[in-house]
């Protein structure tokens, strides 16, 4: 495919020039021209008022291999740490179950270096089948044996979709699997759908630092692989009566050219709390200084929650980075999120917008944070928050 400008139609209005994220459109003799910087992202197609920008297919395109029909079933890679299944695995099962039901196929989980008990847990959370490999070499995460074994299993059983967490583990070894299988891999997805008609997986993910979203497809190759951002997909309620099979995998010839010498834990109490908290009270630049966070801490404590922050507040030195929420901080999903003096930049929103209830307190009624808030209060943090604290204390008889 190529994107071209039909110069006979182009009016030279230059609208498309600024629409291109890659600076790939230039003006030549009064007409738009698409340079080699073009990444085929299609952003310009819809902006041209004359409809002069079009895609053209080239010969031999879209006919690549792999009879997609030979591939069936949805798989999730269930990552474990110290034998314990990571929470992202249950989220993947939630997403995978929905896809499998839509396609009318089975959902399988792949578990390396863990126990039968963990495998049973995966069944409770939605798996019809678990492939369990218990080799000692797989107990700690090692890219090569993980990649080789998973690629072998996929080649043998031919699932149509394989998902892993977009965690340091998934993002490190999954690309190797894709390389081995000549499979398409979509990174860090936040939403999935099945395209009616084709049955293709529609994989939606943020790109450009969260400024834009892209829907990616893998039309001609199988399996369709994707990593999934943690804390975005909803897990199912565990059902202890669910039945499923455990299939023991006995790999041979596993080896690794990397060796984990030591694993060092380095999480502050706080950051763990942030991701597990049911209530988060977050502050931004609107607080004006570090003292503002004292106020938020008081409110958070009353609600049994913890304090988060925008990058602007962290950059200002009012609170440590471990509290930062967003694109370059933590992704959180509490029951209640109270944003105080935060404008609601997309990079902040991607880290918190799947919270159940969002309350925004901001003195600017136009602040974008109100677009994602369930309840908005236009007002001064220093007026609203103390009142809130007072009322809650009254309510609790404190």
């Amino acid at each position: 495919m190529r994107i071209v400008v039909r110069s006979e139609i182009c009016s030279g209005c230059e609208t498309c020039v600024s629409s291109c994220p890659y600076t790939a459109i230039v003006m030549k003799e009064g007409k738009a021209f698409i340079t080699e910087y073009c990444q085929l992202c299609r952003a310009c197609l819809s902006v041209c008022p004359e409809g002069a920008i079009i895609e053209v297919m080239e010969e031999g395109e879209g006919v690549t291999v792999a009879e997609p029909s030979a591939y069936r079933g949805v798989w999730v890679f269930a990552e474990q740490r110290n034998g314990k299944v990571a929470s992202v695995a249950f989220e993947l099962l939630g997403a995978g179950r929905r896809l499998a039901d839509t396609l009318g196929v089975e959902l399988s989980a792949v578990l390396f270096g863990s126990s039968e008990e963990s495998a049973r847990e995966l069944i409770k959370y939605g798996a019809d089948r678990v492939y369990l490999a218990q080799e000692p070499l797989l107990e700690r995460f090692n890219d090569e044996p993980y990649a080789r074994l998973l690629a072998f299993l996929i080649n043998t059983h031919k699932p149509e979709i394989v998902l892993a967490g977009a965690t340091p583990i998934g993002r490190s070894f999954f690309p190797r699997v894709a390389a081995i299988l000549r499979a398409g891999l979509t990174a860090d997805c936040t939403a999935f759908d099945i395209e009616p008609g084709t049955g293709n997986l529609l994989q939606t993910r943020p790109a450009f630092g969260g400024n834009i979203m892209a829907t990616i497809i893998t039309p001609n190759r199988r399996p369709q692989m994707a990593t999934v951002r943690p804390r975005v997909m909803k897990r199912l309620e565990p059902d202890p009566s669910r039945k499923g099979d455990i299939i023991y995998v006995k790999p041979d010839n596993l080896s690794s050219r990397t060796k984990v010498i030591d694993t060092v834990k380095e999480v502050s109490e706080l950051s763990v709390n942030l991701q597990e908290a049911e209530v988060i009270v977050s502050g931004g630049r609107g607080l004006g200084d570090a003292k503002g966070f004292k106020l938020l801490e008081e409110l958070a404590a009353l609600l049994g929650g913890v304090v988060g922050a925008s990058r602007a507040a962290v950059d200002a030195g009012w609170i440590s980075y471990s509290h930062q929420i967003g694109q370059t901080g933590k992704t959180v999903c509490p029951k209640l999120y109270i944003a105080c003096g935060i404008s609601g930049a997309v990079q902040h929103l991607v880290g918190m917008q799947s919270s159940d209830i969002i309350v925004a307190i901001n003195k600017n009624p136009e602040a974008p944070i109100f677009n994602v808030a369930n309840y908005g209060i236009v007002g001064d943090v220093y007026e609203i928050v103390p009142l809130l604290i007072k009322k809650i204390k009254e309510l609790k008889g404190l």
């Binding site: 291109c20 910087y37 340091p168 190797r176 891999l185 829907t215 893998t218 010498i261 209530v279 809650i392």
Partner: protein, 262 residues
């Protein structure tokens, strides 16, 4: 020591936005820069060379204009630069990008290959590990510290979700690096002068003997179907009145919800 650093020229992502009303991109003169993580990769390469000797080769796959990114890297102190450029490379996804880079690196030869953690436009962090697989060498992703490096092995700290792992790998190896690793140096005046005149080696698909069906758009299993502005939630309720009234309304709303915070 043959050190190869992969760099990508990227637009300054912070400035790309989508107008939520019209769905069109808004870009205010995006400059093309070296992917910020790759500056740390270049710095790591230069430090390894300073310690063990050898040379640092920077390589990029991109349009002819990507030459500027290579010159910027040379001005920081890289010794050689390779530009993979060919119309047939256009539209590559991470699979085809990694395959293409692997063909070239096989030609150049490398003991250690350094990539950035991720590019700030595509944001996938996939090219490094895929490249390692194509070269059939081990890799360590998210490296935040190099504890030691010799001719045969390297010991690094790999960032993990709950801390870090200390990982040893045999050479040749590929690492992808995060910003904590180091502080990239600024180009010296002499470096800038030399970079202006330096010869940049250009390689086409034919030069690297790449298989036509595995490069560019044809070689790419994934396709971007559409791009759009991040979605925002629908129902919102503005709580009106005096501050007291607003707070009272909020408390009532929260009390009314299934999950009890109060």
């Amino acid at each position: 020591m043959n050190i190869v650093v992969c760099i990508k020229q990227v637009p300054d992502s912070a400035e790309v936005r989508i107008n939520p009303e019209t769905g069109t991109l808004i870009r205010d003169g995006v400059p093309s820069i070296i992917n910020p993580y790759d500056l740390h990769a270049i710095e790591a390469g230069l430090q390894i060379k300073e310690k063990l000797g050898g040379k640092v080769t920077v390589i990029t796959m991109g349009p002819p204009q990507a030459e500027q990114a290579l010159r910027d890297a040379l001005s920081m102190g890289a010794d050689e630069a390779v530009l993979l450029t060919d119309r047939a490379f256009a539209g590559a996804d991470t699979w085809a990008t990694a395959y293409t880079l692997s063909r070239a690196i096989n030609k150049i030869g490398a003991d250690i290959i350094i990539c950035g953690k991720q590019a700030i436009d595509g944001d996938t962090a996939q090219v490094g590990p895929e490249l390692a697989e194509f070269l059939d060498i081990p890799h360590v992703a998210y490296v935040r510290k190099i504890d030691s490096i010799t001719e045969d092995s390297i010991i690094v700290e790999r960032l993990m979700e709950e801390g870090y792992d200390i990982v040893e790998a045999s050479l040749p190896v590929l690492i992808t690096v995060v910003k904590e690793l180091n502080e990239p140096r600024l180009p010296s005046l002499r470096g800038k002068m030399a970079a202006k005149k330096a010869e940049i080696k250009r390689l086409t698909a034919k030069d690297i003997e790449a298989e036509e069906s595995l490069i560019g758009l044809k070689g790419s299993p994934t396709q971007v179907k559409r791009i759009f502005a991040p979605e925002l939630k629908k129902e919102k309720k503005m709580l009106e009145g005096s501050p007291e009234e607003q707070v009272q309304k909020l408390i009532e709303e929260l009390k009314g919800l299934k999950c009890q915070f109060l």
